[in-house]
Symmetry: C2
Subunit: 335 residues, 2 copies
């Protein structure tokens, strides 16, 4: 395994765009092609007790995922994500080597306890354990150190710094990285998951590729940046940047062919990407769905949206449900 | 003047999107608001002998521009661009202090001689001289040093490094910067003009803000990145990045209000921004119009476009006229 690695999360994080409705054939092809293109890690979807039984990357079980995986994975490590609210420890089956290799446990700050329980089960069942504490910047340095201490006891395979709302500066990433670097075992990987609301993802990614560290690093990305709001780091961009600066490793042609065949048809139905509305959500440290939900229902100017966002109470900035957003807007518009 | 400065070029480089058809009132408002927002330099349009007499930022004369400018410019320096093929030295009138303060002379490698002549006239008439050699990366280090020697003799106010096709790495910028830093007078400004075809513009911009140099720097950007292909560096992003990292200087609210009022209506008519097609043009060092012209006429998949771009002869990569592109495509499609 190289020092710097890429993790494609199209089938998982990109799934927010198409409700994870990827066709069975597309799932099989994309996993095979991502392996072929040289992606180091591939996140194939969610584990979800309420998932679907076909044509979806919301998988109901680890055994179900196995049906989509090729025999030969080359050097790629295959992963699924488990949200503490969607998948229970009791449903984890033993690692066999025939399905996924690892599980990414994702959780909010108020879910640490449940996350630790699920994480423990992931380790016990023999999987590589990835810990994904969302909105990392919401943890003070002390809180984060405390969290990492707890996580370190489980001897995780990787821990990610997660910029859920897309306003973390590279200096912020460095700060959290330092804590991870100090507290984790030497062989633990540090991951980076970012969003593009301020177009900062690529800046951070290239900064990470220049860290003066011997620790192994993994950067999340998705094809054409497919993902909520302004989207994720683009796999084609970071893979090509890697090739240009560190030596040829990833097959860009295969990546472009996947975008052509599987991603462009989705993009043409429902585009993602940077917009001034998403910039404003990041500027005021709000969930990007404040923009997405509102613009699904109303035609709101950038200026009005900027004035609206000011009215969101601090404690509601990270909690964003559609009825609340629309209610807030109606109250704002009536003023 | 601060060490780091921003230059908004929406009315000039953004004009490629709407054929420079900005309404008179929009031009007046935008210049006033860009001054109000604290932009250090504002490029208000082109000087063009064949320009229009109203509702356009293709101005026929320096006196014509004066009609759009406010009395109070605060600390902003106002500029127009002159393309050696569109504006002749003979039409330059004396600097009065009532119209623009400086002129950006833009030219291709094969136009150096004409550019030097126009540049000399710009200086003689009393304007700040900005030199903009396009596709800077097309100059070898030796060729570039020779060019800069020539330019230095004119004692220019600023010289820009121009990434016309959007594939220059920050390391490339550093290389050309070093030559400028060595050969220009201490008080000459170095400028950076970039495009987003590989989303590298922002990476370079933040790198520049960390250069270990006492030289003054100016970074070009446009509102919402308005510009050809994947567009320019976004003014709102770089201005906010400056505020976050170097201290508050630019008024983001005014910038967003301009985007809301003047830029969004244009964007809704004809969107710009990153796409895999533009990434491919940059990957193969081609003019982004190979994608734009082709997609105006044909529905071409990303994969087919990637195979097509391979067939462009090296000497034609930077020369891109629409009939040629369509002819090349028809030949490719018939194979």
């Amino acid at each position: 395994m190289d020092k710097y690695n890429l993790l494609d999360c199209t089938l998982r994080d990109g799934g927010y765009i198409n409700q994870w409705d990827f066709k069975d054939q597309a799932i099989v092809d994309m996993i095979r092609n991502l392996i072929e293109a040289g992606l180091d890690f591939i996140e194939v979807g969610y584990l979800n007790n309420q998932g679907k039984l076909g044509n979806s990357t919301q998988f109901t079980s680890i055994e179900k995922i196995q049906e989509y995986l090729p025999q030969d994975r080359k050097d790629s490590v295959l992963l699924a994500m488990a949200d503490v609210q969607q998948f229970t420890a009791a449903d984890l089956t033993e690692y066999t080597g025939n399905s996924i290799d690892g599980i990414r446990v994702v959780f909010y700050k108020y879910q640490i306890e449940e996350a630790m329980e699920l994480a423990k089960a992931v380790k016990e069942k023999g999987y590589k354990l990835f810990m994904q504490p969302m909105v990392t910047i919401d943890y003070s340095i002390d809180e984060y150190a405390e969290l990492v201490h707890k996580i370190a006891e489980l001897n995780p395979y990787a821990v990610s710094i997660v910029d859920s709302f897309g306003y973390m500066l590279k200096e912020d990433f460095r700060k959290y990285f330092k804590i991870l670097d100090n507290l984790l075992e030497k062989d633990a990987v540090v991951g980076f998951h970012s969003h593009n609301n301020m177009n900062l993802a690529f800046i951070t990614a290239q900064d990470i590729l220049e860290y003066n560290t011997s620790r192994r690093i993994v950067i999340d990305s998705s094809l054409y940046g497919m993902g909520r709001g302004a989207g994720n780091m683009n796999t084609e961009l970071i893979a090509n940047y890697y090739n240009m600066t560190l030596g040829h490793k990833y097959n860009i042609k295969i990546i472009l062919d996947m975008i052509s065949k599987y991603i462009m048809p989705i993009y043409q139905q429902r585009a993602w990407g940077y917009s001034p509305y998403l910039f404003i959500t990041a500027l005021y440290h709000c969930h990007p769905n404040y923009a997405s939900y509102l613009l699904e229902e109303y035609n709101v100017s950038v200026s009005d949206f900027e004035r609206f966002i000011h009215t969101i109470p601090t404690e509601m900035k990270t909690k964003c449900r559609k009825p609340y957003v629309l209610e807030m807007w109606e109250r704002f518009a009536a003023r």
